[in-house]
C-alpha cells in the first residue's frame, strides 16, 4: 500500500482502490466527509475520475480485505491508576494497530470506574487520544467489592453513556445482587458482563485444575467454578428476562451450558479470548508467568470446543481481555505474578490462525465475531460493512484493512503497549493490519499510527 504524500486531516477524502469487502470481489470505495460516500467497480477509479473531492488520496489497496472496524468488548487500559503498565493513549494505539475502532475499557482501574466521574474521565481521555473510540465499562458494585450496587444509572446517563457493566476480575458471586443488577440495567438497555468464577472454588487458584496442575504442584482452578456461575446466571437472566453477557468463556462445559441457555431463548451472549482459542495449559510447565491468566489456559479439548462454539455462534464474539502488566508483576515466581496477557495487536492474527486458516470462519464470520456482534452487545450503531459484505453508502467510514498474506513473528519490544507481556513472543502469526479508519480519518496507515 502506498500512501505517498498522504495527510491525516479529518474531512479529507480517500479511495480504497481494489479493496475486497470481506474477501469478496475487488471494489473501489470512496471515503469522504467521514462516511462511505460511494463505491465503484474495482480498479475503475483514477485521479481524474468524476465525483472525487479535491485532494482525494487514492490508496492502492489491491488484495487487502475490508472489514468493519473491529470492536473489543473487553480491554484493560489501566488508566487511571497503573499508568506504568498502560495508558488510554498507549492502549488505544495498540488497539488501532490491531484494527480496532472501539474498545470497551474495563472498570478495574484505581479508582474503580464505579461513578459517573471516573467513566467520564476515561471516556474523555479516549476522545483526546483519538486513536479509537473508548467506551468505559461501569463497575456493577461499589469498588468491585461485590457488596452493593454502584450508581449504574448515573453512569448510563453520563457523557460516557455506559451500557456494559462488569466487575471483571471479580465475580458478582452473590446470587441476589446479580439478580438485582440484571434487572436494574434493563431500564437503560444495559447488559451485565459476568466474570464467571465461583470464589470459594478458586481460592489461591493458580492454573487449570487437572493433570498438568497435579504435576506442577500448582493449585487448581477447576472448570466447574466457571460453569457453575454461568449456569446460575443463565437461569437468573432467563428468570428476569434480562441480558447477560459472559466474559472470557474458557471451558468446553461452559460452551455447552451457553448453547443450552440460548436454546431456551434466553438473552445470553458470550465472548472468547484469542489466547483461549490458541494456547493450552501445557505452556505453564515453563513456570513463566507470561502464561498466567484468569481464567487460566485450559486443555486442548477445551480449545477445540471454544473454536467450534465460536464457529457455530454459540459464542457470539471474540474479546481480547488485553491485560497489560508491568515487568515487575510478571518477572516473579508463578504464584506472585499477576494474571493477564496483551491481546489487542495480535487478536486478528490469532483469529485468522485458529478460525480462518482451518476454514471454521470465512471473512464474513470474522467481521461478525469481531465487529458486528460485539457492537450489537455493547449497544453501538451498525458498522459500515454488513455481514453480507455490502458496503453501506452513508454509513460511518469506520473500517479496517487487512493484508492476509504475510506471516510475522511477534516481537514484544515492537508492540505499542507500555507492557511486554505477550504470550506470543517469537511465534509466527498470519495477517497484518495495514490501515484503520475511524469515521473517515485514518488512525493507522501502512501499519503505522497516523
Amino acid at each position: 500500500m502506498s500512501t505517498a504524500g498522504a495527510g491525516a486531516r479529518a474531512g479529507k477524502a480517500w479511495v480504497l482502490r481494489r479493496v475486497r469487502p470481506l474477501g469478496g470481489d475487488p471494489v473501489d470505495v470512496l471515503l469522504a466527509d467521514g462516511v462511505i460516500a460511494s463505491w465503484r467497480p474495482g480498479g475503475s477509479t483514477g485521479p481524474d475520475s468524476e465525483g472525487l473531492p479535491p485532494g482525494t488520496t487514492i490508496l492502492d489497496t489491491d488484495g487487502l480485505i475490508l472489514l468493519p472496524g473491529l470492536v473489543d468488548l473487553h480491554t484493560h487500559l489501566r488508566e487511571p491508576g497503573r499508568e506504568d503498565a498502560e495508558t488510554v493513549g498507549s492502549g488505544t494505539r495498540a488497539a488501532a494497530l490491531g484494527g480496532f475502532t472501539t474498545v470497551f475499557a474495563m472498570a478495574n482501574t484505581n479508582p474503580v470506574a464505579d461513578t459517573a466521574g471516573v467513566v467520564e474521565q476515561v471516556y474523555r481521555l479516549g476522545v483526546d487520544a483519538g486513536h479509537c473510540d473508548v467506551r468505559p465499562v461501569g463497575a456493577v458494585t461499589v469498588g468491585l467489592a461485590g457488596q452493593r450496587l454502584a450508581e449504574l444509572g448515573a453512569m448510563a446517563g453520563s457523557a460516557a453513556g455506559v451500557r456494559v457493566f462488569s466487575d471483571d476480575g471479580h465475580c458478582v458471586s452473590d446470587a441476589l445482587l446479580m439478580r438485582r443488577a440484571l434487572e436494574y440495567v434493563k431500564a437503560f438497555d444495559g447488559v451485565v458482563a459476568q466474570h464467571a468464577e465461583e470464589p470459594r472454588l478458586t481460592e489461591n487458584a493458580q492454573m487449570n485444575e487437572g493433570v498438568v496442575a497435579a504435576r506442577l504442584g500448582l493449585s487448581g482452578w477447576p472448570a466447574v467454578a466457571e460453569e457453575a456461575i454461568i449456569a446460575r446466571d443463565a437461569l437468573l437472566a432467563g428468570h428476569v428476562d434480562s441480558r447477560l453477557h459472559i466474559c472470557h468463556v474458557s471451558t468446553a462445559g461452559s460452551v455447552e451450558i451457553i448453547r443450552w441457555a440460548k436454546a431456551k431463548g434466553w438473552r445470553v451472549t458470550a465472548e472468547v479470548t484469542p489466547h483461549h482459542l490458541l494456547l493450552t495449559e501445557d505452556l505453564v510447565s515453563s513456570y513463566d508467568p507470561v502464561y498466567k491468566v484468569n481464567p487460566p489456559l485450559r486443555t486442548a479439548d477445551d480449545v477445540a470446543a471454544l473454536r467450534a462454539g465460536l464457529a457455530d455462534g454459540t459464542i457470539d464474539c471474540v474479546a481480547t481481555d488485553h491485560a497489560p502488566h508491568a515487568a515487575e508483576d510478571k518477572e516473579t515466581e508463578w504464584a506472585a505474578a499477576r494474571p493477564g496477557m496483551l491481546g489487542l495487536q495480535t487478536a486478528l492474527s490469532v483469529v485468522m490462525e485458529t478460525m480462518v486458516v482451518g476454514g471454521r470462519l470465512d471473512w464474513a464470520g470474522v467481521a461478525d465475531r469481531m465487529a458486528l456482534a460485539p457492537a450489537r452487545i455493547g449497544g453501538l450503531p451498525s458498522p459500515a460493512v454488513d455481514a453480507g459484505g455490502s458496503v453501506a453508502v452513508g454509513a460511518p467510514a469506520t473500517v479496517t484493512l487487512l493484508d492476509p498474506s504475510p506471516w510475522q513473528v511477534v516481537d514484544p519490544g515492537a508492540l505499542a503497549s507500555r507492557s511486554r507481556n505477550t504470550p506470543y513472543a517469537g511465534r509466527s502469526l498470519p495477517g497484518a493490519v495495514r490501515a484503520t479508519f475511524l469515521r473517515g480519518r485514518p488512525t493507522v496507515l501502512d501499519g503505522m499510527i497516523v
Binding site: V211, A213, A214, G217, L218, Y287, D288, A335
Partner: protein, 307 residues
C-alpha cells in the same frame, strides 16, 4: 548430569543411579577419620532459603562443607527479601557474588525454575511449594537401596497428604524411573484430581495395602488442612490413615517405615512405630548428607577422585 537439579521427573535413570552410586562413596567419607574432601575448594554454595527449614538447610550446609566449598546462608527472614526485594533481585545479587551453586527452598512452586533462568550457576531445588523436593527423594531411594539391596521391583506405599506434598511428587517420579511400583493412599480430598496420569496405583484402604508393602512412607499432615475441610478431625484421619502399632504389625517382617520429617507423632505415625527397628527416620537424615554431597559434587564437576 544436567546443570541444575530441579525435579526428579526430568532425571534420567542413568543420572539417578549415578547420584546414588556417588552417594555411596560419599557415605564412606563420613565413616573415615578425616570427614572432609578438598574437591570443591574455592567454590561457593549459597543456601537460599525463603522458607524456614533448619534440617534441610543444615544438611546442605554440612554436605557442602565436607566437600570444602564456601557456604553462604542467605535466609529470607530478616533480609532484604522481606522488604519487598524480588526473587529476580536476589538472583542478580547472588550472581554478582559469584555463586557456583544456589540451593533454593521456596514456598512457591516453580521458583527454582525461575531462578535457574536468571543465574549462571547451578540451581538445586531444596523444595518448592507443593511441586518437588528432589534431594529428599534421592535420599529416600538411597535409604531403601541400602536397607533392602535394590529398588527395582519394590512395592512402595506413600500415605497422607499427597495433594500438597513435594516429597510425594519427587518420590513418585524417581521410584517409577528406578522400577519400583508405587501405591498412594490418602483420603480422596488429599489426592490431586490429575493423579490418574501418574505412574501409581491409588487406594483409600491402608489396611488392604500394608501387607503387600516393602516400604511404607508416611507424609506429614498439617493440622490446618482440617479447617479447609480436607478431613473432619485429627482423630478420624488418624483412625483411617495413621500408622499405629496395630497397623505396623500387619506389615511384612522386612518392610521399612519411612518419614521425611518433621513428624506429627500420634497423628500420622505412632511414636512406637517411628522409633521401631524398621523405622529409617534417623538414618534418612544421615543419608541426606551423603546424597547432597553427591549432588553438589556432580553438578559442580568437583575435581579429584572420591576414593
Amino acid at each position: 548430569m544436567r546443570r541444575h537439579l530441579l525435579t526428579t521427573e526430568e532425571l534420567s535413570r542413568d543420572d539417578a543411579l549415578l547420584v546414588l552410586d556417588t552417594a555411596e562413596r560419599m557415605a564412606r567419607v563420613a565413616e573415615a577419620s578425616v570427614r572432609k574432601l578438598p574437591t570443591l575448594r574455592g567454590r561457593t554454595v549459597v543456601n537460599l532459603f525463603f522458607e524456614d527449614s533448619t534440617r534441610t538447610r543444615t544438611s546442605f550446609e554440612v554436605a557442602a562443607k565436607r566437600l570444602s566449598a564456601d557456604v553462604i546462608n542467605f535466609s529470607a527472614r530478616g533480609s532484604s527479601v522481606s522488604k519487598g526485594e524480588s526473587l529476580k533481585d536476589t538472583a542478580q545479587t547472588l550472581e554478582a557474588m559469584g555463586a557456583d551453586a544456589v540451593v533454593c527452598r521456596h514456598s512457591a512452586s516453580g521458583a527454582p525454575h525461575r531462578l535457574a533462568s536468571w543465574v549462571r550457576g547451578s540451581v538445586v531445588n531444596a523444595g518448592d511449594g507443593t511441586h518437588e523436593h528432589p534431594t529428599q527423594a534421592l535420599l529416600d531411594a538411597f535409604t531403601m537401596r541400602r536397607r533392602l539391596g535394590r529398588i527395582e521391583g519394590l512395592r512402595v506405599t506413600i500415605v497422607g497428604d499427597v495433594l500438597h506434598s513435594r516429597v510425594a511428587r519427587s518420590n513418585i517420579w524417581l521410584l517409577a524411573t528406578l522400577g519400583a511400583s508405587v501405591t498412594v493412599v490418602a483420603p480422596p480430598t488429599l489426592l490431586p484430581l490429575g493423579v490418574s496420569a501418574w505412574p501409581v496405583e491409588v487406594s483409600y484402604d491402608l489396611d488392604a495395602v500394608l501387607p503387600k508393602s516393602d516400604v511404607v512412607m508416611m507424609l506429614r499432615v498439617q493440622r490446618e488442612r482440617m479447617s479447609a475441610a480436607y478431613f473432619p478431625t485429627e482423630r478420624e484421619y488418624s483412625r483411617r490413615y495413621g500408622l499405629d502399632v496395630d497397623r505396623a504389625a500387619i506389615l511384612p517382617e522386612h518392610a521399612l517405615v519411612m518419614h521425611p520429617g518433621p513428624m506429627v507423632r500420634g497423628m500420622e505415625i505412632a511414636s512406637q512405630v517411628a522409633d521401631s527397628a524398621r523405622s529409617t527416620v534417623v538414618e534418612q537424615v544421615a543419608n541426606g548428607v551423603s546424597v547432597r554431597m553427591a549432588v553438589l559434587y556432580l553438578l559442580l564437576g568437583g575435581s579429584g577422585e572420591v576414593s
